[in-house]
Subunit: 212 residues, 2 copies
């Protein structure tokens, strides 16, 4: 179970040759004759995996796949394989987040190195993504009102100020605050703030500005 590799290439003989090579190396392999097919059956990311993608194919190009995958929130690392490697394109691909960009034919060592890095990266990304998803789920469980209180609390506002700003009594804020802590699954303000920070909530400006 060292990982799953998705190969996308319109050249059938290349696909199967590559598949054999990688299976020999101990990977689980799936092949796709077109990018569309990959996008249609979005690979699950429950185990380390990566995508080997031919850059130039009929239909969707490799770069387009990169964009689409990113849009869908996929964290699958991409390794481009192409017969027409040019610098311009490789730079664009890497800047867009691809793990690597290799020219066909690709040496086994180089390929396996890249795959190893991609798998490691995917492992790390998956963990981060999982934690982030959990945080976002907690956040989504808040009612709008609770969400407002949450934001003000983690900005260091005290109940009294929050009550004033939201036009409620301090007691009410206390109640909301209590439920926020509960729903977010934390026991201390410190944890709540830490969570807010990781959710990127503390960077946004909140239309306010004044107040100590």
């Amino acid at each position: 179970m060292s990982g799953k590799i998705h190969i996308v290439d319109d050249d059938a003989s290349f696909r199967s040759a590559l598949e054999r090579r990688l299976k020999r190396a101990g990977y689980s392999v799936t092949t796709y004759p077109s990018a569309q097919l990959l996008l249609d059956h979005l690979p699950d990311e429950s185990e380390p995996a990566c995508i080997l993608l031919d850059l130039r194919m009929p239909g969707l190009s490799g770069m387009e796949v990169q964009t689409r995958l990113a849009q869908r929130g996929s964290t699958l690392p991409l390794i481009f394989l192409t017969g027409y490697a040019d610098v311009r394109t490789s730079v664009r691909a890497i800047k867009a987040g691809a793990e690597d960009f290799l020219a066909k034919p690709v040496g086994s060592e180089q390929l396996l190195d890249a795959i190893g890095r991609a798998m490691a990266r995917h492992r790390a990304l998956r963990e981060q993504a999982a934690e982030q998803d959990e945080r976002r789920a907690h956040l989504a469980s808040l009612t709008p009102r609770e969400r407002q209180v949450f934001e003000l609390v983690v900005r260091g506002k005290i109940n009294k100020q929050i009550a004033l700003q939201l036009g409620a009594t301090e007691r009410t804020i206390k109640a909301h605050r209590h439920r926020v802590m509960e729903k977010m699954g934390v026991q201390s303000l410190a944890e709540l703030v830490s969570m807010a920070e990781r959710l990127g909530i503390l960077n946004r400006v909140s239309g306010d500005g004044k107040q100590t």
Copy 2:
């Protein structure tokens, strides 16, 4: 004052031609015949700037410069210019954080685009770096003891627990805590935690582990 450009290239005629082109475009330009000279006079980063670097030079190569600069904490974006552009090298350079990788001769539009992006990026990096430096300076002003208290406080420990763990009375912790807030320049626990988060303190494990 749209920015400062540092050109490093061993080819004198190329240097001066490029310098003229960029000055015409409104940039302030400095040239260096060797990478070592650039490293010897580390460019100040008080205004937006970037480096145009020939990849292949006698002495230090462009890639080595990239490493050295990173080691010294420079945030200056690098744009590689090279006559021998190959995919392998370009991928490595971009993965190492270079802003762009262009082949000589380079078209004006392409070059100015890259420079524009580099300047924008440098502006952003500088702001971040400045903030981070300020945070680190605050942190460094803490005594070892205060630092300990700081770490426990932002992890949500209450004074009583901290006192127990550090073998002091609650009153003492209160005193340290007070000075920590003062030195870090914050008024609320929320701000303190936020600062700790940005300092990367909340990710490290603290040898403890138990406790709620």
